[in-house]
């Protein structure tokens, strides 16, 4: 053993460690098959528990519960009639309802994306329950890009991510409210378009899908060229994942989806996986030809993605 205690390994599996402490575990796991097996057992257990209980969160919420809350809100509104609201019906709409009637605020868009994602997860949960836990969505029959090299590479990195928890930042310490703030600070609304800002914009400018460091808060899944010749990139950040396309000097977020906000790493990865598979499918539809290879990405970056 490599001086890593069971407690430390579990803390790592639970997404409690970051920075050097996490690096140390990853290093040890990479060199110690026994430790790696223990970590996998922990992750399998977690995945199994979640595969079992997550479907409950995807069931329709009983009307009675929603009605109780709506009644309380009305009661309060009646007491303070001047104060109310500019989100009509927001409370009466179940979180999994169709989002079309809601105003296009980013937060609501994320909720809508989450609803879509959860619908898909429901289908996947069944397959998962059948096939056992620890499935990587990218592997199972999801048509990734036609280029076998990239698809294999991506699938391999997903597996590695699950194994080593390199995706930690997807969900590490995620608290929903903080996440929302953190990510929305990286997104600005420009004339009705969502545009990347801050760290997200920087990452889209500089990170390469082909040369991914461990555990940055942002991962680039792939880059491709659209029919109109502009570059697009599929990314996954802590709370959201999406497709960003170049428009002048900006990255316009063509699609965004919520990653599971509150789970710690191994399964945040698993859950994010289905959102990512979704995005990869969308990317496939948008792309003109195969995704960029490592050289193509580097060249595009050199030209400022123009």
């Amino acid at each position: 053993m490599t001086g890593v205690t069971r407690e430390e390994l579990r803390a790592y599996a639970d997404g409690e460690l970051s920075g050097e402490a996490a690096d140390r575990i990853e290093e040890a796991v990479a060199h110690d098959p026994e430790l790696a097996a223990q970590l996998q057992a922990e992750q399998r257990l977690r995945a199994r528990l979640q595969a079992h209980f997550d479907p409950v969160a995807e069931e329709a919420v009983p009307d009675a519960l929603m009605a109780m809350i709506a009644a309380a809100q009305e009661e309060d509104a009646a007491k303070a009639p001047a104060k109310e609201p500019h989100t009509p019906g927001a409370v009466a709409v179940p979180p999994v309802a169709q989002p079309s009637a809601q105003p296009p605020a980013p937060v609501l868009d994320f909720a809508a994306a989450k609803a879509r994602r959860e619908k898909e997860r429901k289908e996947k949960a069944k397959a998962r329950a059948r096939a056992g836990a620890q499935r990587v969505p990218g592997q199972k029959g999801v048509p990734l890009f036609a280029r076998p090299g990239l698809a294999a590479g991506l699938a391999a990195s997903l597996v590695l991510g699950v194994m080593l928890g390199t995706s930690l930042n997807l969900g590490r310490f995620a608290s929903p409210s903080h996440d929302a703030v953190g990510d929305s600070a990286s997104v600005v609304d420009r004339g009705g378009q969502l545009v990347a800002a801050g760290n997200l914009a920087r990452g889209l400018d500089t990170q390469l899908a082909s040369a991914q460091g461990n555990g940055g808060p942002l991962r680039i899944l792939t880059s491709f060229e659209r029919d109109n010749g502009t570059y697009c990139r599929v990314y996954s950040a802590r709370a959201t994942a999406g497709i960003a396309c170049r428009d002048g000097d900006s990255w316009v977020l063509e699609r965004t989806q919520a990653n599971q906000p509150s789970a710690a790493s191994p399964d945040a990865y698993r859950q994010a996986g289905s959102a990512e598979a979704d995005l990869m499918r969308a990317a496939q539809d948008m792309a003109n030809g195969a995704p960029l290879d490592a050289d193509g990405e580097r060249t595009a970056r050199k030209k400022g993605w123009k």
């Binding site: 803390a11 026994e34 409210s177």
Partner: protein, 166 residues
Amino acid sequence: MSTTTSFCTQLTALLPRLRRFARGLTQDAADADDLCQQTVERALKARTQWEEGTRLDAWVYRIMRNQWIDEIRARTRRSQTFTHEDEGVNVGTPGAPAAESLVELGNVERALARLPDEQREAVVLVMIEGFAYKEAAEILDIPQGTLTSRLGRGREALLRELGEKA
């Protein structure tokens, strides 16, 4: 948004997670529904005590967990009076499972149900609900060291029971 609107909107958005937590605590669909209902009732009654800007989820989870503890105690009292010990606590019909996961459902829920309450709630909060140790300890109102040791014993038992031992 007014405080009430924010509270109600957030609480509504939490319902799916609360239902999952309830199922994790109770391992029983009917119990979980009752528990959710009671929790929402309590939360709404106490809504003026919630401070905007603090995490509503932890606040409501705590209400739910305390409500469940009360229920367990009440059942234990009843079962001590009327039936064999311990029956009232863990007996439950699993909720309507999809046919293909029936076996799995039995295993996971049975394994969880066998844990002592204090280990189960730690496991559920951290491993299913995804709370950080610190947050889970706050919800349970115990020191973090106590949480990690309960969590450790709980997952040890689950690993044994579910054959995930490496």
